[in-house]
């Protein structure tokens, strides 16, 4: 059990991430781009290696020992992820490639499905917000174009928070689906998902939550959120790339038509037609990223007792409440520090209680907004990794009236020392290096 001594916790955690020992341009790496992807601890890296070294086999189709072992591990991983987000059981957890694929799966299934209840047809409405990542906007644009489904985009307030009044107005009796980010990947804003859910359900609509930036950073319980679908990516929470999760309420997933077809998602195949496998395999066609799933959810090989530790195990050992607290502290510290640098303009709620460890800002010099790429380039010269640009949320950038922003995003292995260094460098950049 890790004690609540911040400095020691983080040092112990940092040692598990060998990549943090790298030097960039001769300087120690300071990695503030966790919203883009997170690093992997030794435990997860070892699990990946162990799977392929000892347990590699295809699942579901074999009687032989290796196949059964791999199947057991993969199914356990599903159960562990279900428990992690408060789902009923593994039937509600579909492993996909990433959050984007999860959302697309829902879009395609609703669009082309034969289900009576879970579908989108001409004349229906889908409501999204202007702060959405492209993965939760573009699929619905396509749905609008292909099937003449109306798409409504709800505006935000200037501080980046959602205006529930506007949302209430946008939802009508024809709304079938409300899609929103749990947390904005640019501003870090935490949206009031339970309220949004209530508004949606009252009108008979379903709620899909893009949880890519929330599940890794705070306790998430799908029952408490009241969502019908939830999507997130493994690589943003210490797991490898190529594994993501779609949670869906079991009754809905039972009704829905698959998106990708092929092996393993079928129950029986005859030339006249095929029937589908049970949940969640109905939605996992072909050979899945079994290793990735285990690296995300973790599993125990029953005969030998060997524990293949997953990202979920690692995070649970720290505790998601702890993770949130740590980020809140860092966010508060960073916001204070940024405020002290002349010319820094911060977007978003400016309140650690209302946002996760994601902050978007720009630099203004001589009355003009400096190109974010220039600032990011100077930061990289000093070993500091941030992201600059539109962050795959161009409509949000438009709404904020900018071409792009600089984004810093934190995780469990970032420290206040790193922030001090960052603030010092940023100050130097603003004062001395920018024209």
């Amino acid at each position: 059990m890790i004690r609540r001594n911040e400095a020691m916790d983080v040092e112990r955690i940092r040692i598990d991430f060998p990549i943090l020992q790298r030097k960039i341009n001769g300087k120690p790496l300071i990695y503030f781009d966790n919203a883009a992807t997170t690093h992997k601890p030794i435990q997860v890296l070892n699990t990946i290696q162990t799977f392929y070294t000892l347990y590699n086999a295809n699942i579901h189709r074999s009687l032989h020992t290796l196949g059964q072992e791999a199947t057991e591990l993969y199914e356990q991983a599903h159960e562990n992820v279900a428990r992690f987000i408060g789902a009923e059981d593994e039937r509600e957890i579909v492993f996909v490639r990433n959050c984007t694929e999860a959302i697309n799966l829902v879009a395609y299934s609703l669009l082309f499905g034969q289900s009576e209840q879970v579908r989108l047809r001409r004349g229906d409405e889908v409501v999204v917000t202007v702060m959405e990542h492209h993965s939760n906007l573009v699929p619905w644009q396509r749905v609008h174009e292909r099937a003449d489904v109306a798409l409504k985009v709800v505006d935000i307030r200037d501080d980046g928070t959602l205006d529930l009044e506007l949302l209430r107005e946008a939802i009508t009796q024809r709304t079938r689906l409300v899609c929103c980010a749990h947390v904005s990947n640019v501003l870090g804003t935490i949206n009031p998902v339970p309220e949004i859910g209530r508004l949606a359900h009252r009108a008979g609509a379903l709620l899909l939550v893009d949880a890519a930036q929330s599940v890794p950073h705070m306790p998430v319980d799908v029952k408490q959120l009241g969502c019908d679908f939830l999507a997130f990516s493994g690589h943003k929470m210490l797991a490898p790339m190529g594994i993501g999760v779609l949670y869906g309420r079991r009754e809905l997933l039972e009704e829905m038509t698959p998106f990708i077809y092929g092996g393993d998602m079928i129950a029986d195949v005859k030339l006249e037609g095929s029937t589908w496998n049970k949940l969640p395999w109905k939605f996992e066609a072909g050979t899945s990223n079994v290793c990735g799933g285990i690296a995300l959810g973790g599993a125990v090989e029953l005969k030998s007792g060997q524990h293949l530790e997953g990202a979920v195990d690692y995070l649970q050992q720290i505790g998601m409440e702890e993770v949130r607290e740590h980020e809140k502290e860092l966010t508060e510290y960073m916001l204070k520090g940024l405020q002290a640098i002349p010319g820094v303009r911060i977007y978003g709620p400016f309140n650690p209680d209302e946002q996760v460890g994601v902050i978007a800002f720009n630099v203004i010099k001589h009355g003009e907004l400096v190109d974010p790429h220039i600032v990011a380039g100077f930061l990289n010269d000093e070993g500091i990794a941030v992201r600059s640009g539109g962050h795959c949320a161009y409509p949000l950038a438009d709404r904020l009236g900018v071409e792009g922003t600089i984004r810093v995003s934190f995780y469990i292995y970032n420290t206040k020392d790193e922030m001090d260094c960052f603030l010092e460098v940023l100050d130097d950049i603003v004062r001395r290096r920018l024209l």
Partner: protein, 126 residues
């Protein structure tokens, strides 16, 4: 082929973890051949003996097995005895490994550095 012992220690590595407030800490990297291999060793010392030895290792089965068996061999030994745990001794304890892989060096090296760390901090108390 990996020997039985290597597989055993790979599937069930001994003494994995960190020691809070350790008396000594050492780390070793894989060198130019396996630069991404890495092992950390933590030790607790009492009356000149290794009371507790723990490690975290990233690497191939040989590296993990080497760290595991090193930690098992070192537990309870005096510092002098622990310093005599060499890569050769580890290879022998593992029942030999097919070719001289550098990753069997990591465990002993990190252990020795942890002992050196302890000695330098505690001024030669053996």
């Amino acid at each position: 082929m990996y020997s039985e012992k290597v597989l055993e220690h790979f599937r069930d590595p001994r003494n994995v973890g960190a020691i809070e407030g350790a008396d000594g800490f050492g780390q070793a990297g894989g060198g130019p051949k396996c630069p991404e291999d890495l092992t950390y060793f933590w030790i607790r010392v009492s009356n000149g003996r290794l009371l507790e030895v723990k490690h975290k290792t990233l690497g191939c089965p040989v590296a993990i097995a080497s760290s595991s068996i090193t930690s098992a061999m070192a537990e309870g030994k005096t510092l002098q005895e622990a310093l005599r745990i060499t890569p050769e001794a580890v290879i022998e304890a593992l029942g030999g490994i097919p070719e001289r892989k550098m990753d069997s060096n990591l465990g002993p090296h990190a252990l020795h550095r942890a002992i050196e760390n302890y000695v330098s901090v505690h001024g030669g108390q053996r």
